[in-house]
């Protein structure tokens, strides 16, 4: 199953902690997505998983493969950079689309267009 028979103890402990931190944060974000009331509150919750959640899992993966292959393995940085660049873009687009739809329907709870 796991091909990490000869991984030293400190690396195993650090990888485990980072994995559990990342997955717990992703779960908390999903819970917030389910529990919060309005869309504009809900749009904040999944960013927990897209920043520190996937980030600490990526750091765990980098650490694990670097120790296992005794050379720095850095291609996980690609996913991290991609996530950091794209998540704000998509969520801003989505929030703007939701605001536009709410205004067109005459929803009283959102602020009107700028005067």
């Amino acid at each position: 199953m796991t091909q990490a028979a000869d991984i030293p103890g400190w690396a195993a402990i650090l990888t485990s902690l980072l994995l559990l931190l990342g997955s717990s944060l992703t779960l908390i974000g999903a819970l917030g997505l389910l529990r919060l009331r309005t869309f504009y509150e809900r749009v904040h919750a999944p960013t927990l998983g897209t920043t520190l959640g996937i980030g600490s899992v990526l750091i765990a993966s980098m650490l694990h493969f670097s120790v296992l292959q005794t050379r720095p393995v850095l291609h996980e940085v690609l996913i991290a950079v991609f996530m950091v660049v794209t998540t704000p873009v998509t969520l801003t687009l989505l929030a703007r689309a939701a605001l536009y739809r709410d205004r067109r329907e005459g929803n009283e709870e959102v602020p009107g267009p700028r005067a």
Partner: protein, 93 residues
């Protein structure tokens, strides 16, 4: 010792991530409006990429990393296109 610790924590992390995917899928099914469903679908994409990374740590191969990269890319393109559709009514004008 360290192998057992790593195996158990990977198992627990996969359970937590699977639960997160289930909660997001509930929001996809329930979400009162279209933007809620798109947001929850984006969360499912990101969680799936994280889950594939944990599979990669478990098996020690690089194939899962590439799959996670492709899923992250497709999630960005899909969510951006759906947000454009909600805003304008069509994707490519």
């Amino acid at each position: 010792m360290s192998t057992a610790l790593l195996a158990w924590s990977i198992f627990l992390a996969q359970m937590l991530l699977g639960l997160a995917m289930v909660l997001s899928a509930v929001r996809v099914l329930r979400g009162p409006r279209a933007q809620d469903r798109v947001l929850a679908l984006d969360t499912v994409y990101v969680t799936a990429a994280t889950l594939l990374l944990t599979f990669g740590i478990r098996t020690g191969g690089t194939l899962y990393f590439e799959a996670a990269l492709v899923i992250a890319l497709l999630g960005f393109v899909g969510t951006a296109a759906l947000a454009k559709f909600l805003m304008r009514g069509e994707v490519i004008e």
